[in-house]
């Protein structure tokens, strides 16, 4: 007896998914129609009332009714939903896509250049694959940008009228730059094959990529000036709003700090997003070849992300300091007021990034033969990183109950109070960065055996090292001289002297490290510089930070910059030494791309989700610092939604934004991959 095959197979998973999707669409459309219907109903009922009134009036007066005067509206809502929430979601989505679209071309061009210089076609293919994602994401960014503009003009007409009055000349420049970016992007993507045939053509192609970056950066900086103008307005009469200097309105106090912070953050963002793309692709790969490719791609994404993440806290500190300078009230709201607790959430997310990044590197070592030599050290780095994370997470003052306070005998916890202050946090952030850098150095030398003497690399290596060290020393000396020239009271100025001494010690240490490297003792040179930097920037400045906070708080800002300068100088010099130390070094074993544990891919996913969430959180903080002001100190937000939401409300909203963004990215990347599937099937 033959088995009956049903016409429709209700157990099919595909069919079930289609049902769910159709149901979702129906609910969505009904919801939309209901909202619109309600709005229309409201309008109709208003009309009915109007008509009734007109009839009543008509009975008493035969004259024609007066035409209704045109009413200027300052605020509107979106079908009953608060306009602020809608603008928040759309602007954040636009910003995230824009970050990706602006960051990826930066490293795509660099990867393409590496490909041309090294002659390794894999780099060229990788750059092209990234560009494919870029072109798919670009259209979404532009659409979201248009939607944001409509939302702003529609929901905040009065505010946008003023912003247009001030910035309209720059809006035209923005549009021109946008055209430039569109032409460069599509020119760059579609001319890849055409211009790859000759070396000259290839360099011309790279030039288009550079132009793409220039237009992209200009776009970002233009938009930044509008956002920072809202935080620290300049170039206007604060009474009348008249523009007194368009240049100062554009180049306002916070413009450059935000530009610097955003460029670096965008690169980290782009790196981690492509890393996650590679991770998903890796997990779904069916062949060893595919696995090897996506493993390598994930590695590059993580490398770029971590590379940008290291200087990011410094840029963030600079921005925070400038916010304080622009307005102490705003600075106080940020670090001591309504937003101070959001920085605990930020610390958790940054901790996730550092821990995830290091975890991925350590997992990556398992695919490198020879890495087992360094495995015992990993646990110590782990301990250091978790310790740093814990200190960073400690709030300045833990809320204590009356009982706890009575038990402790004071307002602050006897131990945690030392970890909650800036001196401790600065120290652990620097230690975290040094540990991550150390972790990366271990990864780099995992499959390397005997190194070649430095002298064998010739004079080019020597010159490079001298120039690098020279520039670093010049910067340190310039800052030390600046500190010596500070005009302050003598009793405060004496607390600056140890900072100058530390900078001088660092300069001497760099010179010693260079001399040791020239004497073919590069590893000792690196260790020496590491130890000196850690002792000064972490241990000594941790202690000295407390002294300064107690005796001369004003010096704390110089201490932080000195600390950062010392750490950065160590990273730069040690990186260059490392490059030559392991150039042409003997390999213990090759890297087996694709042989990385599956769990490491979740670390890449974690990095992506954490950085997207972090961008959402920081966007909320930056924008929220204005409190109930559109333009801080000049134009108040008098709409119903002008309140600072609680952290929980922010958490839900940012979570929604993150999910929307990741879903859109997944969809856009899936679309971008369709063409490849078609090619494979053909």
């Amino acid at each position: 007896m033959s088995k009956l095959i049903p016409f429709i197979n209700f157990t099919s998973k595909k069919l079930q998914l289609r049902f769910v999707f159709t149901l979702f669409l129906v609910i969505f459309l009904i919801a939309l129609a209901t909202g619109a219907g309600m709005a229309q109903e409201g309008a109709e009922s208003a009309k009915t009332t109007e008509a009734a009134e007109t009839t009543a009036e008509g009975k008493t007066a035969a004259a024609e009714p007066e035409p209704e005067p045109y009413e200027v509206v300052d605020y509107r809502n979106f079908f009953g939903i608060d306009g602020r929430l809608i603008v928040w979601i759309i602007s954040e989505l636009h910003l995230m896509f824009a970050a990706f679209v602006l960051a990826v071309p930066i490293f795509v061009v660099i990867i393409e250049m590496i490909g041309v210089k090294s002659g390794d076609i894999r780099f060229d293919n990788l750059a092209r694959e990234f560009t494919k994602l870029l072109s798919a994401a670009f259209a979404t960014t532009a659409s979201l940008g248009g939607l944001l503009a409509f939302a702003l003009y529609g929901l905040y007409p009065a505010f946008m009228r003023y912003m247009t009055d001030v910035f309209h000349p720059y809006m035209f420049i923005y549009a021109l730059c946008f055209f430039g970016e569109v032409f460069c992007l599509y020119g760059y993507y579609y001319s890849w094959d055409l211009l790859s045939r000759t070396p000259k053509g290839k360099w011309f192609h790279i030039s288009i990529g550079v132009m793409l970056n220039l237009f992209g950066t200009a776009l970002m900086m233009l938009a930044n000036s509008w956002a920072t103008f809202m935080m620290a307005p300049g170039g206007i009469n604060m009474e009348t709003g008249t523009v007194t200097s368009l240049y100062h309105a554009f180049y306002n106090f916070l413009w450059m700090p935000v530009n610097i912070h955003r460029i670096i953050a965008n690169v980290a963002f782009g790196g981690f997003v492509v890393g996650a793309y590679a991770a998903v692709k890796f997990m779904g790969s069916r062949t060893d070849e595919e696995r090897a490719h996506y493993d390598w791609m994930g590695y590059i994404g993580n490398f770029i992300g971590l590379g940008a993440l290291i200087p990011l806290p410094f840029a963030g500190y600079y921005l925070g300091r400038e916010i304080y300078m622009a307005s102490p009230v705003m600075g106080n709201i940020m670090m001591g007021g309504a937003f101070s607790w959001t920085f605990i959430v930020q610390a958790i997310l940054i901790g996730m990034l550092f821990i995830g990044g290091n975890y991925y590197l350590w997992n990556g070592m398992s695919r490198i033969k020879g890495a087992e030599r360094y495995t015992p050290y990993i646990k110590y780095i782990n301990i250091v990183i978790f310790f740093c994370f814990a200190v960073w997470l400690t709030p300045h003052n833990l809320p204590l109950s009356g009982e706890e306070r009575a038990l402790i005998g004071e307002q602050y916890h006897p131990f945690s109070k030392f970890f909650g202050v800036m001196a401790a946090k600065n120290a652990v952030v620097n230690l975290l960065i040094l540990s991550t850098f150390f972790s990366f150095l271990l990864y780099r030398r995992a499959n390397k055996g005997e190194t070649k003497p430095f002298s064998s690399h010739g004079s080019a290596a020597r010159i490079t090292l001298i120039i690098t060290a020279g520039l670093t020393v010049m910067y340190l000396a310039w800052y030390a001289l600046g500190l010596r020239g500070l005009e302050m009271e003598e009793n405060i100025l004496r607390y600056v002297s140890p900072l100058v001494t530390c900078l001088v010690i660092q300069i001497i240490s760099i010179v010693i490290a260079i001399l040791l490297t020239f004497a073919n003792k590069g590893k000792i040179a690196q260790s020496f510089l590491f130890v000196v930097t850690t002792v000064m920037a972490v241990i000594y400045f941790w202690y000295y930070g407390f002294v300064v906070m107690e005796k001369a708080n004003l010096v704390l800002r110089f201490l932080s910059v000195t600390q950062v300068s010392i750490v950065i100088s160590c990273l730069i010099v040690n990186t260059v030494i490392d490059v030559f130390l392991f150039k042409d070094a003997k390999e213990v074993g090759g890297i087996q791309w694709g042989k990385i544990p599956h769990r490491s891919q979740y670390a890449l996913l974690l990095l992506c989700v954490a950085i997207v969430t972090l961008m959402g959180l920081m966007g909320f903080i930056r924008s929220g610092l204005r409190m109930n002001w559109h333009i801080y100190g000049y134009m108040q937000d008098t709409s119903a939604g002008a309140f600072t939401p609680s952290i929980a409300y922010m958490g839900w909203t940012v979570s929604l934004i993150v999910i929307l963004f990741l879903a859109l990215v997944a969809f856009v990347f899936w679309l971008a991959g369709l063409a490849d599937k078609k090619k494979k099937h053909a």
């Binding site: 001591g336 007021g337 003052n397 996913l605 993150v658």
Partner: protein, 315 residues
Amino acid sequence: MRSFLNAVIFTLAVVGFFAYVCIYVTNLSGGSGGGGATGVSPEAGEKIFWGDGQCHTCHSIGTSGSATRGPNQEGLASRAEEKAKATGLGSGLEYMVESIVNPSSFVVEGYDDIMPKVFAPPIMLDREKILAVLTYLQTLGGEPDIDAVIKFKDKIPEASKTKVVPWVPPIEVDLKEGELIFFDDTRDVTCSKCHVINGKGAKVGPDLTGIGAVQTPQYLIESVLKPSAVIVKGFETMYLMTNDGMAYNGLLVSQDEEEVVLMIDEEGEMVEYVFYPDEIAQMQKQDVSIMPGNLSEMLTTKEFYGIISFLLSQK
């Protein structure tokens, strides 16, 4: 498809963890936002306290909140009654109104005079919201009485709803010139000999760093022209008479069982004098500021407004 679903589940778990942390932190910090607060009621006042009003930036209530810059407001209503009796005010409510309208009038011992006027920029609470906060404060150790609160409505200045109207000097002045005069130590009277701005100057009088962000032009003008009208806590002049009949007026630098140190003006120079307990016959606080009261004679109108404009620019 399975690996993609795993990635989705993992992503949702991380995002869920983030949302959980945010909720946890909200409970820990006590900040629940200030949205939707309307009318004069303790409920609206509570929302404003933790939201728009930014009161929680400096004040905690019991174990809610973690700020320590200002006094913890637990039991405020009953404390206010005691304070009112001690200061001759009619009621605890009047004491609270006075503390909000003129924050420098009653500064709790052990705390700095840093409270801003909440009806002035950048906080700019309107009258209704301040009244709501007052009803909420009444519930902290007492019973709310909305009618009584409303009676004080005329005492509370109305905040500007649309924009801030900044102070403009009556004559055209140069801010840079004001700065030069402030730090010019060749003049008979130099501001920076007693005041610090951004680390420059001497700390005899109050530190004026960021003064423009917390004080009004009217306050600054009054402080320069009539230094004794409002004396910042901790900078009152001390009158000291020694056993041999010598009298001194100066700022109290320190005081303990072994010695009393006064900063005394000697022909424009501030000099520290140390007195031992056995040589002091009498010592008491004065209502007169040590700051010269004749600055209006020593400055031209342009110089005077230049200094005021310079101080207001310190934000």
